[in-house]
């Protein structure tokens, strides 16, 4: 089961060319409101449709900082993804996420990619979760031909980064067992 509530937050409500750090900080309140009002589990799509310029300073205040808080678990079972007309538009945001050692899913018209910092083994695992829509660590370990513990580490980190959703499905001995879900709309 991976039904998620969804809400779209349009950045162009603040202008087509944004902006300064101060403007990004002011805009952040609206984004946090949208995030908190989203029923769990929820996916906030931050849309750059209609935006022509997204400066690094504005993007850091509006998107990267809330995203950093999201990864601490502060907002519960909620996620953020970016929708952009082109990947180039999100380049400075990617740089800011990279500096913060974060990673965020970004959709363009034709494909999805990861902004920020994500090592290739993690990317490989993420690709597989998205392809399968949902999986267990065992399934993924087998498909990737890696050790179960290694896979657990990878999916755990991907879940921490809010790139996939983790749901407890029972107990395997003394430990909880999880299924991992793509946060991309199927």
């Amino acid at each position: 089961m991976n039904k998620m509530n969804e809400q779209v937050f349009r950045v162009d409500q603040f202008g087509a060319r944004v902006g300064t750090r101060l403007e990004g900080k002011a805009a952040r309140e609206g984004l946090l409101e949208a995030l908190l009002s989203l029923p769990e589990p929820g996916r906030l799509v931050v849309s750059l449709d209609g935006v022509e310029v997204l400066s690094g300073s504005f993007a850091d205040e509006l998107i990267a900082l809330p995203y950093a808080r999201l990864t601490t678990g502060e907002f519960g079972d909620r996620y953020m993804i970016l929708r952009a007309p082109t990947l180039a538009l999100a380049e400075d945001l990617s740089h800011k996420l990279d500096r913060r050692r974060l990673a965020m899913l970004c959709f363009t018209k034709t494909s999805w990619s990861v902004l920020g910092l994500l090592p290739p083994p993690m990317q490989e695992t993420l690709d597989l979760v998205i392809e399968r829509k949902e999986a267990t660590a065992g399934d993924l370990a087998e498909a990737l031909q890696i050790r179960h513990n290694t896979c657990l580490h990878r999916v755990g980190r991907l879940a921490e980064l809010r790139l996939i959703r983790r749901q407890e499905v029972g107990l395997g001995g003394p430990y909880p067992t999880y299924r991992f879900f793509s946060i991309i709309k199927s």
């Binding site: 202008g15 060319r17 902006g19 300064t20 750090r21 101060l22 310029v53 400066s55 300073s57 740089h95």
Partner: protein
């Protein structure tokens, strides 16, 4: 001295800042770039605020004087004399006159103004306009955010100006604030750096006065972008000057001047504008 440019302005700063009773002779100057113009205005102001106003022999060139007028130089400097018989300056010779940058709330509006002036003159591609807008947003907002980070100045005198030439577009941004070294020194681990090291830390390592990793890195990104576009990038702060062109990039010793001053010169190819085959009234930089 025939030109006041990124390459020569330090000779003027040496005279204006270090001499007790400065006497500046720039009568033979027949070309000034926007970076030179902003630093000239700031250096004269600095001298007037910290001692006696310098005696200056102004350029004799009518074209240069007319351009200085059109760039609004007289609004920056008390005592910039009118040239006898000079026609009123035509604003068309100046792409973007000297503009004060003080409040962060006004930065986006100012950037749009600069962009508007450039796009009025040239049919730029949206992509190139947007790239320059992004550069201006970061450079302009640095002034209210960092130039007076210690809160000790009544006015850091932030300025920006832009001019087009036969082969390039030139943007200059300058202030008389605390400069990179003192800004970075607000972090204890960088308190002992000199101007050169501070400039290196900020432009090459992407550091800022904030420990927050999301802050800083903008000058490094702009430097890389300008280099990718085969442009020229100069950053001056305190006693250090970083000069980067398509061939080289290094930090040099420079005579002390407070604040931060930046020059970005980009080939017109970047904006999809073909180089002009002949000079016309819109351009300066040639002998009369």
């Amino acid at each position: 001295m025939a030109e006041i440019t990124v390459q020569t302005i330090d000779q003027i700063l040496d005279v204006l800042v270090s001499q007790d009773t400065p006497h500046l002779d720039i009568g033979a100057v027949d070309f000034i770039d926007p970076y030179g113009l902003l630093l000239l205005a700031l250096a004269i102001r600095h001298r007037s605020l910290n001692g006696s106003a310098p005696r200056i022999r102004w350029p004799r060139s009518r074209r240069v004087r007319s351009w200085m007028d059109a760039m609004g130089f007289a609004d920056q400097i008390d005592g910039f004399p009118e040239m006898p018989g000079n026609p009123p300056p035509s604003r068309s010779t100046a792409l973007q006159p000297i503009t004060a940058i003080a409040q962060e709330e006004k930065v986006s509006q100012l950037v749009n103004g600069f962009d508007h002036r450039l796009s009025e003159r040239y049919p730029l591609t949206k992509q190139s306009r947007n790239a320059l807008v992004k550069v201006m947003l970061e450079l302009f907002q640095n002034i209210p955010q960092h130039s007076n980070a210690t809160g000790e100045l009544s006015d850091p005198h932030g300025l920006a100006a832009m001019q087009d030439y036969t082969d390039s577009v030139f943007l200059a941004v300058a202030d008389m604030g605390i400069g990179l070294r003192r800004s970075l020194a607000l972090r204890e681990e960088f308190a002992q750096l000199n101007d050169k090291s501070a400039l290196n830390k900020i432009v090459f390592d992407g550091m800022s006065r904030f420990a927050d990793p999301g802050r800083g890195g903008e000058l490094r990104r702009i430097a890389r972008l300008v280099r990718k576009w085969d442009g020229i990038f100069a950053v001056r702060s305190g006693e250090a000057l970083l000069y980067m062109d398509t061939e080289h990039g290094d930090v040099y010793d420079a005579p002390f001047f407070p604040g931060l001053q930046i020059a970005v010169r980009l080939s017109r190819h970047v904006f999809g504008i073909e180089p002009s085959p002949v000079d016309n009234e819109s351009f300066i930089g040639f002998n009369e």
